[in-house]
Symmetry: C2
DNA sequence: TTGTACGCGTTATCAG
DNA sequence: CTGATAACGCGTACAA
């Protein structure tokens, strides 16, 4: 069933049918009705391939989600799709797991699909080098910073991870904690590095030492990671009274393990998370954490990308405010 | 940059370039190398539209995800994409929120994209009527049953919700509970109905009464839903010693609210969840729940769909085993 | 082994 | 207002 068949059945030319289907004004009402009747009867729709081939107007984006374990990314994804719905763009979603390299995958996907732009949800800037430099379309990294890349194509929107981290660490210190452990990512990750620096600044300002070897434990950003990291951390340094973690998932994994080891949170050990996931507010104890505003991240990320695509705007690195949530997982000492 | 430009640059015909790019054997190694060199140099890829228009071979599927709040769906999505990767199919992912009607949306999407098949993640059979009956391509509902529809096109793969529900309820009863409350979905949902029936069977077999008005509370399948439902339920019926919930998210919402009201889980009130999310095993207390095997659901769902598409197999309604997880959220009475 | 030319389903231009 | 026809980029039969 093609436009040709419709035309034949209507007794008119294909050009006319095309005009009707594309809402061109220069068609008589009579003809328009006749054509529409036949079209509806068959439930006919234009072939998208031929249409795009002709009009040469690719309007597709790609959304690359890195690890769906975090519900922050899910909310982001849902919001993006909602915002995209009324726009003349199609977005293709690709889910990567935590171990996949988003740069490599994005490059492959780019050459397969040739999208007008790429949205990264939860990826990190340091993976967007190498191969990905061959990709010359605008992209935006949502929830992580990418300014350090200095790329001509990559924008980003995120909270100020340094400040948020500083704030969180300072909160622990202000509550009387001095022996603080950290559960974070690997130092190869830019995100981890920047959060770690924010943490360190708070420690330094308070005149506190931090022994990296003894008090830092790297792990994956997951429940399991937090769980394993906690055990190692406590073995290395049994004196800590508080733990700064770089994600709510890690914080929860750590809490669970503490509970299993017979320690109470926050009575015995305090914990702060990061992300502000919904579960943070429903966990027992409620997590003290940094909340990232998904709504705003999605909105800004999309605007930036469309601006780059439509107006060839230069890359932009936007910082949106974070919110500190004082839960129940930190105890005031003394 | 088209195949024509490449041909010109190579000094050969477009047919030759096409053959090289499609791995046809009848090209001399010398020519092949020459062409590949130019192709690589420009990072050239064939225009997907033209290719598909020509070969007329649509190989695209649509995955419709209903509400990403549940991490079960996220794991499913991730696995599906992994399994699809090596196959000659493209899948388009659409995320719906909990209030969208999956049948209506699927119908719209079908006419826009004309996929070869549709995968529903977490939708429910009762929404797949009406408009959706016009959609005459195979589809598969993953994680909910659709046998009752008797559709010629819709398959499903899920656990036996009736049996799982029965098992879970019986576990509460075997632990001495007789005054049991239920937090579930609305009775308009087929899934809720079937789980409720399983629950009732266990009650009846044990000779226990269930007063629907007093002991059932409907809510959304979310943390917030569980929280609100718990409050209402306890107000209606303060005597209950255990609560059967239809999702882990509801269970967690209820736990949190109980804690806030000064009740301990499971010391004061026991709770069972449903789904077996990762968080269930990291919550405090660990949730007693029914685990659905995401890996198997994804695998089976995809096989069934591809079988329907490629071999025109009849719809099939597969039941996979569930796993009961005895957590820490149920107390043995007496 | 390689080149040529037609057609896939559309849209847009140009006559009528 | 409507009809005919040339592209769009590619695959492939057919010819060379």
């Amino acid at each position: 069933m093609t436009i040709k068949d419709i035309a034949k059945e209507c007794g008119c030319a294909i050009g006319t049918v095309s005009r009707v289907l594309n809402n061109h004004p220069d068609v008589s009402d009579k003809t328009r009705e006749k054509v529409m009747a036949v079209v509806e009867k068959h439930g006919f729709v234009l072939n998208a391939n031929a249409k795009q081939l002709k009009s040469q107007e690719r309007k597709n984006l790609v959304i690359i989600v890195k690890g769906t374990s975090s519900t922050l990314l899910n909310s982001l994804l849902e919001m993006l799709q909602k915002k995209l719905e009324p726009l003349p763009y199609n977005a293709n979603v690709v889910i990567l797991d935590e171990h996949d390299n988003e740069g490599v995958n994005a490059t492959r996907i780019y050459f397969e699909q040739k999208p007008l732009g790429i949205i990264f949800l939860g990826g990190s800037a340091d993976k967007l080098t190498g191969d990905f430099e061959k990709v010359h379309v605008p992209s935006v990294l949502i929830s992580n910073q990418a300014d350090s890349l200095g790329s001509q194509y990559i924008s980003s929107v995120s909270i100020d991870n340094f400040e948020a981290s500083f704030f969180s660490a300072k909160y622990l210190i202000d509550n009387g904690h001095t022996k603080i452990g950290v559960i974070g990512g690997s130092m190869e990750s830019g995100l981890t590095t920047i959060r770690y620096k924010g943490f360190l600044k708070a420690m330094n300002e308070a005149g506190l030492d931090f022994d990296f070897e003894k008090s830092y434990q790297a792990s994956s950003f997951s429940f399991e990671g937090g769980q394993e990291a906690l055990e190692k951390l406590l073995k290395k340094n049994p004196e800590i009274t508080a733990i700064y973690t770089m994600s709510d998932a890690m914080a929860i994994g750590a809490c669970r393990k503490l509970e299993d080891m017979g320690h109470k949170v926050p009575q015995d050990i305090s914990i702060v998370g990061f992300d502000g996931l919904a579960i943070a507010n429903f966990y027992c104890p409620r997590l003290t954490t940094i909340k990232q505003n998904a709504q705003e991240l999605a909105q800004e990320g999309l605007s930036i990308l469309l601006d780059s695509i439509e107006n060839k705007a230069s890359p932009c690195h936007k910082i949106i405010p974070f919110e500190f949530i004082a839960g129940e997982s930190v105890k005031k000492l003394r």
